[in-house]
Each structure stands twice: as structure tokens, then as C-alpha cells.
Subunit: 360 residues, 4 copies
Amino acid sequence: MGNTFGHLFRITTWGESHGGAVGVVVDGCPPRLALAEADIQAELDRRRPGQSRITTQRQEEDVCHILSGVFAGQTLGTPISILVWNTDAKPQHYAPFQHLYRPSHADYAYDAKYGIRNWQGGGRASARETIGRVAAGAIAKKLLREQCGTEIVAYVKQIHKIYADVDPTTVTQEQVEANIVRCPDPACAEEMIGHIEWARRQGDSLGGVVEVVARQAPAGLGVPVFDKLEADLAKALMSLPASKGFEIGSGFAGTALTGSEHNDPYEMRHGQVHTRTNNSGGIQGGISIGEPLLMRVAFKPTATIAQAQETVTDQGEAAILEAKGRHDPCVLPRAVPMVEAMVALVLADHYLRQRGQCGT
Amino acid sequence: MGNTFGHLFRITTWGESHGGAVGVVVDGCPPRLALAEADIQAELDRRRPGQSRITTQRQEEDVCHILSGVFAGQTLGTPISILVWNTDAKPQHYAPFQHLYRPSHADYAYDAKYGIRNWQGGGRASARETIGRVAAGAIAKKLLREQCGTEIVAYVKQIHKIYADVDPTTVTQEQVEANIVRCPDPACAEEMIGHIEWARRQGDSLGGVVEVVARQAPAGLGVPVFDKLEADLAKALMSLPASKGFEIGSGFAGTALTGSEHNDPYEMRHGQVHTRTNNSGGIQGGISIGEPLLMRVAFKPTATIAQAQETVTDQGEAAILEAKGRHDPCVLPRAVPMVEAMVALVLADHYLRQRGQCGT
Amino acid sequence: MGNTFGHLFRITTWGESHGGAVGVVVDGCPPRLALAEADIQAELDRRRPGQSRITTQRQEEDVCHILSGVFAGQTLGTPISILVWNTDAKPQHYAPFQHLYRPSHADYAYDAKYGIRNWQGGGRASARETIGRVAAGAIAKKLLREQCGTEIVAYVKQIHKIYADVDPTTVTQEQVEANIVRCPDPACAEEMIGHIEWARRQGDSLGGVVEVVARQAPAGLGVPVFDKLEADLAKALMSLPASKGFEIGSGFAGTALTGSEHNDPYEMRHGQVHTRTNNSGGIQGGISIGEPLLMRVAFKPTATIAQAQETVTDQGEAAILEAKGRHDPCVLPRAVPMVEAMVALVLADHYLRQRGQCGT
Amino acid sequence: MGNTFGHLFRITTWGESHGGAVGVVVDGCPPRLALAEADIQAELDRRRPGQSRITTQRQEEDVCHILSGVFAGQTLGTPISILVWNTDAKPQHYAPFQHLYRPSHADYAYDAKYGIRNWQGGGRASARETIGRVAAGAIAKKLLREQCGTEIVAYVKQIHKIYADVDPTTVTQEQVEANIVRCPDPACAEEMIGHIEWARRQGDSLGGVVEVVARQAPAGLGVPVFDKLEADLAKALMSLPASKGFEIGSGFAGTALTGSEHNDPYEMRHGQVHTRTNNSGGIQGGISIGEPLLMRVAFKPTATIAQAQETVTDQGEAAILEAKGRHDPCVLPRAVPMVEAMVALVLADHYLRQRGQCGT
């Protein structure tokens, strides 16, 4: 069941990087939502490889096909099956790694778990697996936008040691998409791009932080105790490849404040209860309160690097790995739509759950 | 379904802080595990209020009763129901807050979600809810220890701006329990205790970081894609009250490394594949590899403080809140057994899931 | 997870017949439903042993206690925990069966599965387990009645070879409760009672059929494909102890009709689409259409009988079993509230699921 | 979530009869099971339309494509995605029904639930949806056969008022496949075929009963309380299109026996505990005991008939329906592989669940 996510708005993804195709089944989407392949393709294009000089040079167009669940331009309420063919798989690139465990990749872990792995690519651990998430997330986003007015914007907040300055309450997707690194701080973006190009030339890679804000999410989403909204968001985002940390609101930095500094005082604005500050990140007691949801996700530097590395073979012999594959020197720019998708999936699911239990 | 956690080793908790009782039902525990109330009580005693001068002065003995699922000292494989009566509830303490939203508490959130709340205490948002988790976690811990040799140790790593120095590969529970702040760095522990007492005198509160290590966890736990082991651990730990951040292995700090610095080279030790470093935190591709699982959780400063605070009433009028309740000036020492419990619950569940799918 | 039922309106039962107590946790109930212990007790009284001369002579009052989830007479939206103490357990009655497998009981099955069993009673296979279902069902019934006007009435349709004549479209609970066998056909009821008393005198037992109708259930409940409404109803009712068969609408008898005889023609009545006949039993394509839901459940004769029976010991030796326990010579009268409860649980869950996905 | 079935061996089906394709995702299959498209195709060929003169004349070859989860002839443990294109869809056949509710079809039910339906065919209510079940069931069958020696054989037991005589303990698939009606009683089969042809000439349709036996299923499968093996089997089989009843072991007929007649005495055979009779149908207390699992499913006569029928339009006007579509005058022969598939899916899931909880 590890490939299914959500309770009412529920997705199941499938596909290896080098099998025939990858895809997703979206079950539980409300009926009569206008939906076309173009809605999904727009998000896939933000995710696809080869979109700029700082991403992998793999060239996959990742054209989506809706195979079920939509009729005459509207969702039917039945499962929406979306498929993307694998077109640029080059399994021969992976032949040298058939018996070698690439450091900080999933090769050894899969062998330890399953006793078998598809060594012709990353298998389910490939970033290609995220196509299904982004496709399903496009539907969730549309649902939230049309029925709740919710707007989800993610962006690169940090690359290696370069930190951007962004106001999450006003940042727009246009600002994010204005440059190839997806950082809405233009000066900082330039620096980041240069640094990523430097890393690629070194045969090395970089990590960083993606920040995401969801504005106009309804109050009342999330369920005590285990399905607190931040818990489900944490799971969603920590399930993305290469993520190593998650925080909401004040996060780790909030531990350096006292309670009197950290608490968010309530006040009335426009006849509505609001908090003056937002250290809570829009969630209290596991339930959204109508303030912007604000989170950050740490991504490690890409495990695939061109430099030689020590490792062992699947027979337990020491070996040297020299990778030749096409890869991203920094996953952050392409992670932006993935982060948005996962946030949308959690919110859509909790929106339907809240409507189910509480009728609103 | 928000009160149920796990798939095969599955728990359901119930109970408000000021209803009759709190409890948990553990479903799916393997049969024939030796189990007595004493196994559970030992962990509850580490969690209970009033255990030291730096915790809340609420005095609740939190005596557990096993009502089903155990026969002649062994688990039956059927649901284990555990109940703890509420004995020191003082609802009159909460009367002043009946119509006041306490800042950074769940009061307003519950009203927004349910249109009703039990104002005589924290309801499900009370730390008292964690009794069920800790009780169930005691069973999970015992299962893992007896069947896998797994050892889970959590400890206070940071309080406010005081950082401890601890070696996660060797730290023992005895070292953790050696002082009331549960920090195994003795000098640092003294400083932390003094700082917590200072905060209490100020009518203020402090947050910090709990670190947790699981040693000898089997390789192969965790399922791609959504139920990656770190994703389920993140959800588990972010579902604890007051948690604001989660990281595994190198976490947020890892974003300041390059790939060549961050990757964990493989090597053979004692005839077994190991990694030389552990930036991965024991998980690769969402699957445990047999290295120590290492995580950190950020807890915000306790929301209940004695200082006066601005807020609004449930009628939307500005008001001043002056709390009189008994509370922890710092939740970290009592959070230690909660963190261990949640980690144990995730590992026990994935241990059974792995045995189910892969037979080992 | 075998002890949890439902997705949004979700219950978890626990308890052996001879442990300390039995109970249920109801998670996901909508908030602000008026609820008191009396609502639940009324249904438990219909289920409890010793209520008449044709039921078991065990005397258990089965007093329910609500331990959480209700505040000031209303549901909170949080888990409702209900507990009933075991008061009349007589484990010594079961000592002779410690090593004997009672025919057509679960003894051998539990040993084969778990390698252990609570031989002091029926364990989870005891009819006592159904207390939790009936208690939770009382809440589901109230929810459906208040929010949808749904009325669920079950009754004894057949005992052994005695068949009652009942009109499901008009039968009332008052008619059902008018006699101790719960058969609303008075003449037939008399005959059934006499026959049950005869069976008891023979040291034997009888089975039969319970029929249940749900009137005014909303249209649109049930989800293609696997969670068809009749599929979930079948599971619910086949999970009751001693049930051996389920049918809906025309059921098995419908196989003797041709399609032109069996199809239900549509017609308009009171401005609403209706079917002229109801061979479908109120469900088409897995989805309720607003017609009465009509089902039947077959219950085998009680496995506990006083006559001597051949069996084997847990060491594989031939043996003769002579039961002395107190038991029902016919479970049907007490099964009536259980059947109503299970139908209510399925409908309540699908009602919330439909509201979640489709907003109505 | 209505399109997902199973907990550990979990399938999700998708696809309308007249969208682009239908398919299934199988999640949780154990790794290293030998698997090829031919394994699946063999079962699909038993299900496909147009296979004989007594099935629908739709001609669809239903060629399956495995798109993921299999590598070098073995399962990977990751999701197996199987797709079958829709090739013979003739939506123009359905144009007359765009605004007409076909009696005893799902048309009105879907409109009541979703407010929209794909009128170009049966949508998710089409028998075409069962392709995914049969494909997934082929994998489950292979897993059970190879790891447990379990053999599942279904066959037509009754058509209209014609009843076959079959010994479930010895019947083979070869006997079942020996004639086009899939009834292993040859004389009876002839009669059934003639009767089906008569019904088709009348523009009418027939129903009947499929019986299914699973031999050599392991003891210990099934979980008290709600996930009793017979409960999950009932749900599985009642989720098939056109099913109206389910019974196990003695079923409804068992209600005419007394307890002393119905109980299955234990005895030793070949050093193993067995029951002398099998009124229990191989399950006691919800748990398999190693005896043959024996069930029957009632299928109503096909709703699509050629005779004129009264109905209403989606505007509430009386109308006459005259169907022209290609359809099965009797679904029973094609239901046989569907029934086997559903039984296999339940057993495979419980086999993995049992291994997870109890380690065997």
C-alpha cells in the first residue's frame, strides 16, 4: 500500500524509470470538475527534465494521457487514470551499475528489502516516479482553487549557502517562474544559477531548501490526533526523493524563542479572527485556522555525481564508481512543482474529509 | 480516522484531558508476546506529570489497566485495550477560558472545525492524549527489542539556546534518565535545568530539540513511494503536540554540503555492507539499510504561559488572557518517551509489513 | 486492523468475553449530535442476554459508560469511547474445554492462527463482542434518523422451517418488539417460540433468517467498484457471528426469474423517479436509488448444544464433548439489533463518504 | 477509495467501458514471483466477450500489457500496472440511451450520486471493469499456487431452474473448461446451453449460481472481528456486477438443520485435525481451518434485454426503451473467472496479513 496516498482524494502511482510507462490513478475526485489534459500538462512541463541548462539533459517530453474518469471535459467522480510513456530511457547507461551500489542511492536498500531490483535506472526511487504526483497534484490544485480559492506557491529559498529573501504573503507564481532556478528573489537567483553551473563543472552537486505557502486554505482542515494537518504535510513532503527535513511556521528556529515571543496573539481583522504573527504556520492543534500555511523542505545534494566514489559490489567487494548518467546537479528547481503537488494533495484530501465529517 | 495510526500494528487512541479516562486500542500485535501492565507502566511513569520540579505540578499517577488482549501473561493477537482514568482533572481552572481563545492553543481551531469544543481542558489537544501513544509504544518497543534487538533512545539535544553534545551511536537510556531534563550531557543538563527554572519564574516557557536514535533496526523497513520510512517517521513525530520540525540524518544542515561531501561511501565491516558516514540517517530511498536511524524533532515553547496575553473572545471581542493553569514550562523532558514511542510504533508497523510482503 | 470497520464513520471494537471489559471507539462521528448513554443503553438492552426465556440465562446488565467524545450532551467530533464491564463471567464453566476443540466453534481456528487462545470463554468469537457494534450502531442510527430520516428495521423472518409473512415497506419496530422472538407476524411468532423451547429441551439449537429493511436511505450511497453498497452491507452482516449467507433484493430466488421478469421498471411518483418493483433491493450498480434497502441474513443453528459430540483434544486425541455452558438455543432474536447496527454503520459511513466526495 | 481492494495485496482498478482503456495497479505483491503477460492473458481469455455463441458478440481481444513492476521475468515488489486498450467500443450504440434510464442498470444511480455519467456505455458499471480484477486475480492465483499449493475452481452450479451436480472436493478446471457454459456436469451443461440460446431468441436473459471452492488454502487466514474471512469473501463477491446473494458452507439451506445436525465433528486424518463434515465451508470464527472453502454466488438475469421496457427519461417523462446493444443473455459463464479472481485476491491478501502478524 506504500504507493497510495490520501483517504478521500486518493492517488496511487506506479512505474519505474525504465519500464514502459509511469502513471497515476486518482480516486475520489469530486464529479463535474472541468478537466483537460492541458491542465495537467502545464504542471508536468514545470517538472520535466531538460527544461533548462541547470537541469538534467535527459530529454523527455512527458506527454500525459487521460485514459479514464473524464467525460465531455468534466470529471465523472470515477478513477482518473493518467499515463506518461517512457521515451528517453537509456538502460545501457546503467549497465556499469548492475552490480555496484551507488552511494546514497536506493540500490542497496532495494536489494536488502526485495532481493531484486531493476538496475536499469532508478526504479521506483527515480525522480521519474514524481510524474504521477505532479499530475495528480494538478487536479488537486484546480479543485482547491475553484472550490476554496486556495493558492499554493512554492519556490527555492536556499541553494547550498545562498539564501533568498521572499515574502510568502505576496509572492506569485509568475515571480517564481521568472527564472530557471525558480527563486523569486532575482539577484539571488542569478547567484544560485551561477553556483549550480559551477557545481556541475566540478562533477559535484548541491542541495537547498524549498519554501511553500498555501494562502486561502479553509480553516478547519486537519484531524486530531495522528492526522494533524502538519503531520500529513510532513509525510507528504518527506516522501519526496532527496528530502531530509521539514518544518512548519517557526520550525527549528522557533526553538530559540520563548513562549511569550513565540505565541501568536489573536486579533480581529475584517470581522474575522486572525493571528497577528504566524509562528504557528497557519496550523494550531493540527487544524488549519485560515492563516497562510507556511512550510520549508530541505533537499540533500543530488546523490549522482561525476566524481569517483568508493563503494562495494553486490558481492561485497570494494570498488570505485564513476557515474556517467545524465543528472541534475541540483534538484531544487524541479522540486518546486513537486512540493506544490504534495501540498495540494494533502489539502484536497482534508478538504473532502472535513466536508464528510462536518458537512462544510 | 485521524485517531488511528499504523497499518498492521495499528493503534487507536481516545480520550479528552477532562473526560472520564484516556486510552488506546492496539490492534494487530503479534500473539504470544509476554506482556504485563508493568511493561507499560514503566513508560507511562516517564511521561507522567509531576515527576520532577521542572514539569507541570499536575499530579496524576496515570495507572494503566489492560482490559483485553492479554491472557496468562501473553498477548492473544486480539486487540489490547489499555485505559488510564483521569484523576486530577480540575475543570474549574479552565472556566475563565470558556469563551477566550488561548493564543497558539487549539481552542479557536477546534471551534472553526467542529463548532464545539470541550473547554474544560485541552480536549484532544491536551498532552494527556499522548498517554495512549506511550502505552502502545511500550508494546511496540518490547516487540522490536525481543524480535529484532532494536534499541530506541531519545534525549534532549537542545533547550532554547543550550546545545548538548551527545554521541548517538553509544548513548544509553541510563545516561538519559540520569537527570530530570533527560539530557545525557551532564554539564549541559545542569544548565538546561537552571534555564527552565528561570523561565518558569518569568511566567514564560522554552522549546528545544529532541534527538532520537534507533539502533539495530532491521534493514528493509519502509516502502516506496509514499510510505517511505522517513515519511512515516516524520508524520509520527510531527503529530506530537508542539512539534514544529523534523529532520533525518544530515537534515537541514546537510543543505550546506556538496554531494561529494554528503554521500555515504559503502564499505564492508564484519562481512556486512555498511556506510562509512551516516548523513542518510540510516535510510536510503525510503528504506532502512541497517545503519542507526537518527532523527531530530523541534518543539516550540509551551503555549501556556503565565504572562498576560492579548487575544479575542469567541464573540470576536478583544480580551486579555491571564493563565492560571498548571503547565510545563518546557515540554522537552516529558517529550522524550513520547518520541521513543512514536518511533517504535512506526518501526513495529513496518517490521510486520515487511514480513507480510517479503516474508522476512 | 481486523477490529476496525468503516472509513469516515469508523469503529474499533475490543474485548474478550472473559477479560475485564468490552468496548468500542467510534471515530469520525459528526460533531454536535445530541447523545446520551440512554441512547446507547436502549439498544444494548435489546441485545443483552437473559432478556427472555428463549435467550441464554447468562445475566449481564451490560451497562454502558461513555468515557470520551461527548460534552454537555453533544458529540465533540472526537473519538467516542464506550465501555461495558464484564460482570457475569464464569471462567470455571469453560475449564473442561481448555484442551478440547468445540465443534463449529472458533477454538481450533484461533489455535491454528495465533498459537494461543483465551479458553475462558469465546474470546473475540463470543457474541459478547457484538456489544461494541450495537453501541456504535446506536449512534449511527441516531445520526441517520436525524440527518436523513432513515429508519432501519430488522426482524426474524424464519426460524428453522417456520417462515413469517412480513411487509417490509410498513413493518415497525413496535411490531417487532411486541414479542420475545422479534417476529412481527404474531401467529408465526408463537410457533417459533414454542419451537425454540422444544429445541432447548432437546439440548439442541436452531438457526434461521433475519430480514432487514432501511427506508428513506438517501440515494447516491455506495461507491463503485469494490465499495458497492451491497458489498459493504454483505461484509458487515457476514462479519456477525454465526452468519452463513447474505442476499439483497430478489437474492437467490431471483435466479429463477428471467430478465424481463426481474428488471424493475422506472416510473414517476410524487415527482420523483421510483421503481415499480424492487427486485434490486434498493441498490443498482452498487449505489442506493432511494427505494427501500432490503436484505436477508442466514444464521446457522447455535454451535453450543447440550448433546454429546465427538471431537479431538489439542493434542490430537479423540474425545467426547458435553457442554454445560449457558447459551442461546437460537441466536436469532438477539441478532435483530446486531443486524440493525451493522446496516446503520455501513449507511452512516457511506453517507459521510458521499458528502465528502460529492458535497451532498 | 471505492476502487481499491485489499490491504497488503492491494489492487486499484480504473477505466470506463468506452474511455481509452481499462486497467489495474497491483500494489504489495511479493517480490521474485515469476510473472509474464501470458500468465494474465490466459485468465483474460476466459473472461473476454465473444468467446462463444452464448456470450455477447462484442469482439474485444483484451490484450494485456504489463507496464511496470516486473523485471527480467520476476516481480519487483513494486506496483504492477496492467493495461488493456478498449478496441471495440461503439458509443453510437448507446446514443438512444443518453437521456433514458435503462431498468435495473446503474444509469439513474450514477446520476443520483454524481450528477453526471458517461452514457456511452456502462461506465464503471460495465462488465468491462472486471478486466482489472481478473488480471490481478491471475497474479494472486499464481502466488497462492506457488507458495501455498492453493487451488481455486469456480463453475456454474445453476442456470435459471437447471441445477448441476458437482463434487467440489474433486472438480477440476479442465472439467469446467470442457464446455462453453463452464458447468462440469456435462449433461446439465448441454441443457443449460440450450436454455440460454432459447432466452436469447426471446430477447430475454437468465441468471443463476456460481459455486467456487478453494482447496489447500492455509489454515489461519482471516481476522476477527470485521475482517473475518467469510466477510471479506462476501464483500469481494458481492462487489461483482449482477451479484445478489452470497453463502458459505451450508448457507441458507443450513437454517433448516438443527445444531446437532449442523455441527462439524472434529477428527484426526493423516495426523492432522479435520472436520468430518464441512457445513462450516472451511471457516470457523472467521478463520480458515484448512478444509475446502466452499461458497456460492447468485447472479441476477442480465439487465440488458431486447424486449421493450417501460422507463423514464432523465427529465422525468415516461418512455419505452428498446435496447439494441450487444450483450450476454446470461453472465454466468463469463462470471466464473471473475469469481475465482475475487476469491484469490482475498486469500492472497489474508495470506500476507497472516504472515505479517503471526510470522507464518
